[in-house]
Symmetry: D4
Subunit: 219 residues, 8 copies
Amino acid sequence: GFVKIDHHRRQRQGVPEIIFGEGKTAEQITTIIESLKSRGHEVLATRISQEKAAFILNEMPDLTYNETARTVSFVTKKPEGAGYIAIVCAGTSDLPVAEEAAVTAETLGVPVRRFYDVGVAGLHRLLAHIDEIRGADVSVCVAGMEGALPSVLGGLVENPIIAVPTSIGYGANFNGLSALLSMLNSCASGVSVVNIDNGFGAAYNAVLIHRLAHKGATT
Amino acid sequence: GFVKIDHHRRQRQGVPEIIFGEGKTAEQITTIIESLKSRGHEVLATRISQEKAAFILNEMPDLTYNETARTVSFVTKKPEGAGYIAIVCAGTSDLPVAEEAAVTAETLGVPVRRFYDVGVAGLHRLLAHIDEIRGADVSVCVAGMEGALPSVLGGLVENPIIAVPTSIGYGANFNGLSALLSMLNSCASGVSVVNIDNGFGAAYNAVLIHRLAHKGATT
Amino acid sequence: GFVKIDHHRRQRQGVPEIIFGEGKTAEQITTIIESLKSRGHEVLATRISQEKAAFILNEMPDLTYNETARTVSFVTKKPEGAGYIAIVCAGTSDLPVAEEAAVTAETLGVPVRRFYDVGVAGLHRLLAHIDEIRGADVSVCVAGMEGALPSVLGGLVENPIIAVPTSIGYGANFNGLSALLSMLNSCASGVSVVNIDNGFGAAYNAVLIHRLAHKGATT
Amino acid sequence: GFVKIDHHRRQRQGVPEIIFGEGKTAEQITTIIESLKSRGHEVLATRISQEKAAFILNEMPDLTYNETARTVSFVTKKPEGAGYIAIVCAGTSDLPVAEEAAVTAETLGVPVRRFYDVGVAGLHRLLAHIDEIRGADVSVCVAGMEGALPSVLGGLVENPIIAVPTSIGYGANFNGLSALLSMLNSCASGVSVVNIDNGFGAAYNAVLIHRLAHKGATT
Amino acid sequence: GFVKIDHHRRQRQGVPEIIFGEGKTAEQITTIIESLKSRGHEVLATRISQEKAAFILNEMPDLTYNETARTVSFVTKKPEGAGYIAIVCAGTSDLPVAEEAAVTAETLGVPVRRFYDVGVAGLHRLLAHIDEIRGADVSVCVAGMEGALPSVLGGLVENPIIAVPTSIGYGANFNGLSALLSMLNSCASGVSVVNIDNGFGAAYNAVLIHRLAHKGATT
Amino acid sequence: GFVKIDHHRRQRQGVPEIIFGEGKTAEQITTIIESLKSRGHEVLATRISQEKAAFILNEMPDLTYNETARTVSFVTKKPEGAGYIAIVCAGTSDLPVAEEAAVTAETLGVPVRRFYDVGVAGLHRLLAHIDEIRGADVSVCVAGMEGALPSVLGGLVENPIIAVPTSIGYGANFNGLSALLSMLNSCASGVSVVNIDNGFGAAYNAVLIHRLAHKGATT
Amino acid sequence: GFVKIDHHRRQRQGVPEIIFGEGKTAEQITTIIESLKSRGHEVLATRISQEKAAFILNEMPDLTYNETARTVSFVTKKPEGAGYIAIVCAGTSDLPVAEEAAVTAETLGVPVRRFYDVGVAGLHRLLAHIDEIRGADVSVCVAGMEGALPSVLGGLVENPIIAVPTSIGYGANFNGLSALLSMLNSCASGVSVVNIDNGFGAAYNAVLIHRLAHKGATT
Amino acid sequence: GFVKIDHHRRQRQGVPEIIFGEGKTAEQITTIIESLKSRGHEVLATRISQEKAAFILNEMPDLTYNETARTVSFVTKKPEGAGYIAIVCAGTSDLPVAEEAAVTAETLGVPVRRFYDVGVAGLHRLLAHIDEIRGADVSVCVAGMEGALPSVLGGLVENPIIAVPTSIGYGANFNGLSALLSMLNSCASGVSVVNIDNGFGAAYNAVLIHRLAHKGATT
Ligand SMILES: Nc1ncnc2c1ncn2[C@@H]1O[C@H](COP(=O)(O)O)[C@@H](O)[C@H]1O
Ligand SMILES: Nc1ncnc2c1ncn2[C@@H]1O[C@H](COP(=O)(O)O)[C@@H](O)[C@H]1O
Ligand SMILES: Nc1ncnc2c1ncn2[C@@H]1O[C@H](COP(=O)(O)O)[C@@H](O)[C@H]1O
Ligand SMILES: Nc1ncnc2c1ncn2[C@@H]1O[C@H](COP(=O)(O)O)[C@@H](O)[C@H]1O
Ligand SMILES: [Mg+2]
Ligand SMILES: [Mg+2]
Ligand SMILES: [Mg+2]
Ligand SMILES: [Mg+2]
Ligand SMILES: [Mg+2]
Ligand SMILES: [Mg+2]
Ligand SMILES: [Mg+2]
Ligand SMILES: [Mg+2]
């Protein structure tokens, strides 16, 4: 029956709440975080500009601002346990999205390993780390412009890949459309896609997969 | 080193090869299947029209044609083991894509359960089966037209969902664009997306996730 | 004959005039409102930024500014009579559009009931209110991102639904295109659509329908 | 509770079932209609080609095929009662969509009046009938190419208009996109829009509105 | 031979030069105008913001700034002679484009008559002036949103119409795309189209047509 | 008043009626032409396939079929009088559209001169005829692929140009979109545009302009 | 002066003429080829279907039909001389485009080396041949779906790459748009792009570059 | 083997490094340039706004800022040697892109000749310089709006052309889409295309081609 829905995961104490900061004022975000903290929740807010962060941390100095990921968080536990998510990223311009993914996964308690600036036009950079990426339960693969990285990576690893197109580029990039279409048309199997710049969503999916891979350990 | 790539998963005997039939002639497909069978491989070919299937099965009568899924297969083992993939499908017009996913997963050895014709405009149909869908390790969620099903399902289940937009619809559907954009913009967490009508790709991702969820059992 | 057009609804005294504020200066809007008020008209102006509102209310302090709806109004009568319009809204980011609809309907004299933040990813929120929504003569259904709410609602209520896509979202949302296409492709019957972010237009349609439903009472 | 959904309008005996024929074989449609007829339902099937109709009527000679509307129906009652829906149509090429709307409304029991070939490039044709169109409870307004008719009509009538863009045209028409965008951007109030070529959907909405306008008479 | 090109119309003294101001700095525009004036040319500069105009007129106080048309001009002769161009415009938001057209035509020496705010949703406004519009040699017809005005006007007048879509609107307007597609698909004959917001280009075409219509007077 | 509309050009005897053949059956077209001929009208029907033409001419052997232009006509008078329209065409694949324009203009009584296969990649071909094109009152300029011809021609002639994009091309041509956008963005003044492949519409505009240029002679 | 254009490459005897066969009838192509052959020209015709080829070769049995490239040719000389063009191709479905390029280059007298089925999802296939590709003066790089191959190749070779997107794929491929946008956004330097499926154009560019690289040898 | 990739061209001392400035802060760019200079590299940074340039040159006054090209460079050698690249540009608004190309080529050591403001609407401007353009090894051809210049130029020169669409224009230009599609559909052979506004990429390709044309001289 429907009563099950009431026992929704996010309502259980101790699991971090995640707030989407875009389109909310610094005051609104502050109010939400204060309310959550007071009820004992850990908190992550994404898409927080530097101006908003300054306001929020002035009110709650025990929060942490990650400037690249544009996140504000109040998290007391460290990610721990077996396995890890690989966060793989093509160029330095894609870092904000990659870090949004990394911080989200860590906030949700899962260890990540970062493999940044390994775009396909300099293949040796990716190949230098390929064994460690293969060791991950699941990869989040972030790329803008032509979005080719998930196709190359998909041919090299056997575990699932969550591809994140970014809006990095100009001209015929059309704000991430080129990377999005590339990833949806990937000739490599084992690649699924989330929205442009949606580092959070990719990490969330990866965390669900990681949880499945390691649920045997705890049950 | 790169030598690892040579030992690619699909080249290992006993794991089915999957052939994309679109744009290949019946003769070409027949030749490929014969060659694979003779080397002891199990085989699945997708996107096979009735005309092509007639030709192929005339040559190799021990193959099976699934008319809805439009697949030809030579598979000797049954899917078995713990866990299952839920194949959830909005309308009867989406059946070919859903069945392509189902047959792919079964061919790769993973049990599936089918939940068909449970589109969001008649919510009770989905809710009637929700507990069994929740029990799946991962769901493949197939929908055309407005593609709303993954968003609704995503709010009801905790495991990952692979969403497949279909090209079913007309007018402002633009051959599946409406469903694709819907799924990429899903407000539910835990949803990732594959290409329009890509039942195979969704199943492949789901199989990788299922394998992770149950690898403890065999290792 | 054409002379009928001269007796256009809006020219009749006492029925509120509605001004589209976008692309007009605060001075222009002030002049229009002053002229209408002096002729005894009630007035509603939509798409009024906070800056413009400050200017306008400085000139005419008896006006009301609704910050969420971004409307300025001079209305002396309360909505009254039988029946009501349900204003149903998926997320808190959609509130400005929902409130533009609500204020428009109320200004035109029709009672509304608000059902906000009932998006499809948390279905229990919608189901908790479904009987009251079913009681409305007509619903205005506002949603951004994947725009799935009208499809779900359309399967649950029997009266007409005016769907309003909003531009809320990012990436493959393309400024509301994803929600617009979803709604146009709705698999639920009884759903028609207005322009992206057009809360006013949806309410205007709903008011016409409500008037038809209750004209028996007055005639 | 949810049990209400089981008593869905269409399941109640005597109210016609409506089948979407596109993508179904003549055999499938025949089976569905036979099953519905045997349970006492009236039936309407839309998007039926001449070939399919020939097959179906061969099996069930008491059905009626409307060649323009491309519908097959088994309806025993005549539309009757107060009020009517105006079906207004720009060009002769739009007739199949207009007739799909007209037949749908009549099948659902509501009288319609047809105003065909009254496109805006010959305004006198529309103006000759404007008083009778104004008398309708609601209009379905069908136009292809530039889709300007709902804007002109919307300025002349006070009741709601359901606009249906058609795919008629070529070149920069993009299969109905030009008419669709026109109608969504209509500068006339009181216009809402359904999918390209969706005569059925427009009529369904109009019937719901007509029912509201006349429910007083029966309740 | 090619030598004819050297005797290009614009190089002949006394005919106004027209400068496209967008993307040029106030300094650059000032330099160009000074140079042209010093050689005895009349000058028109379009797309001049208020800031740029302030700078330019500070340097050359004998220039005229038209705030609505966003033009700066130095023209000593009045438009004169037989015939006129009708500038017809749907809404007040379209005024900048209509005025750019009007000022361009007048600068090139052709009389214009303005028919503003005669959009199709209030047809009586257009019909009140239709005889005078019919009297024009050619009409420039400016409209945003659904861009329906040229289709209606085209059915009422026999001379050519140059249609100008404007970027006025929001949502599914897509910056003028809806009006552009409407006008290209006009069911009225005698309508041709220029770029979105290109009042200058429409007027230039109209001036060429007017010149043909009246060249008999001078030859 | 509106009565003027009744005296519409097409209703006056002797002026050819123009029928749009696309989407009409050969029987329907035959009926329309017979009816018009019997009332003394000259007739032109466009977009007539070879199959339809065979049927129609079998019924009325005194009609003429122009295979390239895909027109059927019954015209007894020759184009005559001063001036001419230049029909300028880039490639041989654009001929059907160019000929539709030429036949339309001739049917409406205006002499044309044809300048075919003068695309911009072989500039000498255009330059060889430029003086004669300059002598035309107005040019219809037909081009597919990149649609550059109107821009080049616009810089070489002083009279108006009606540009017709064609759907000739493949790939990033998108059925004529590339040529359409090119022509709308032409950097040459004096160019206006009609719909993709609309040879009829271009000629109709050109005839209106030619009539203005020569009305002095007859009035 | 312009007289130079008359001495255009194609007019010089012995250099092959290239005919674009799409949209031409078998009769037309036969006539063109006969005329060219009779004047001593070598000839290549592209985009020739099997049906057309059968007709043409029946008339001129000394022609050669390449079924994959879909070309008909009459060429008497072999490609020879220093250097070569690498034709690199992602998947077997891209073969027709790759072969159109290869045949075009060979017809124009330049040696080619083929590297087929070396798509990025199986990187070892490309790397196995990389030294030989590096040895080419210029590469033509053909790929459909996500079009990632030029980016990977561009990072591995130093000479120019002409990228050809193909229309191979389905769904969000949009007939080659995904590959086209990918290639235009390539993060590798040294990559330029031609139209979707334009193997001819890519080869033509490559031949020009090869000629520059080796002109020293003959001058 | 892969070790070759480590000896990447740009890593070799003395060859300029090229930095893409967009999306990097002035501080980041300063740090990168300082690090490269200290290792003896020549440096070019593109897409540098005036504000960023002021900051950077304050730190390193021996750098050069090119305001039009928006580049900052530290280059000690002059371009020299045989041959040259022609930089051909349609309008003055395209100058930033043309200059980005010119500066890039010069920085990479190749002489360029500039042919600016030679758009197709004033053909004599291009023809006046055509012999000198023909003398170039390769041309970079920059144009916005309708992007017709490469097609015209391609018919006049025999060497390769790298076409660069620019985002200059408005309305149906769609930020450079019109010019991009034009260039991809060019009817002239020998034209390949890079991304919108990608002056750098065009020059890079041209430099590779120039190098091939003159490598004989140095080897
Ligand atoms: N960066 C992000 N992108 C997309 N969704 C997000 C992001 N961050 C958080 N979310 C989602 O937004 C939800 C909270 O939204 P809200 O109720 O508006 O605060 C979270 O539970 C996540 O599902
Ligand atoms: N508002 C306008 N829109 C489009 N083109 C214009 C406009 N104003 C001037 N032009 C054109 O731009 C040319 C001058 O461009 P420029 O040399 O860049 O100033 C004029 O000769 C006109 O052809
Ligand atoms: N090839 C054509 N393209 C566009 N419109 C045409 C064409 N041929 C005729 N027409 C228009 O279609 C009208 C006739 O349409 P119909 O009444 O459907 O035959 C004519 O009066 C013209 O305005
Ligand atoms: N496959 C092709 N794709 C694009 N252009 C081609 C192709 N084959 C030939 N061409 C071009 O088309 C020209 C001949 O066109 P045509 O005059 O129509 O025969 C050739 O000289 C080439 O420039
Ligand atoms: Mg893989
Ligand atoms: Mg979920
Ligand atoms: Mg309903
Ligand atoms: Mg109205
Ligand atoms: Mg007219
Ligand atoms: Mg001109
Ligand atoms: Mg390279
Ligand atoms: Mg050339």
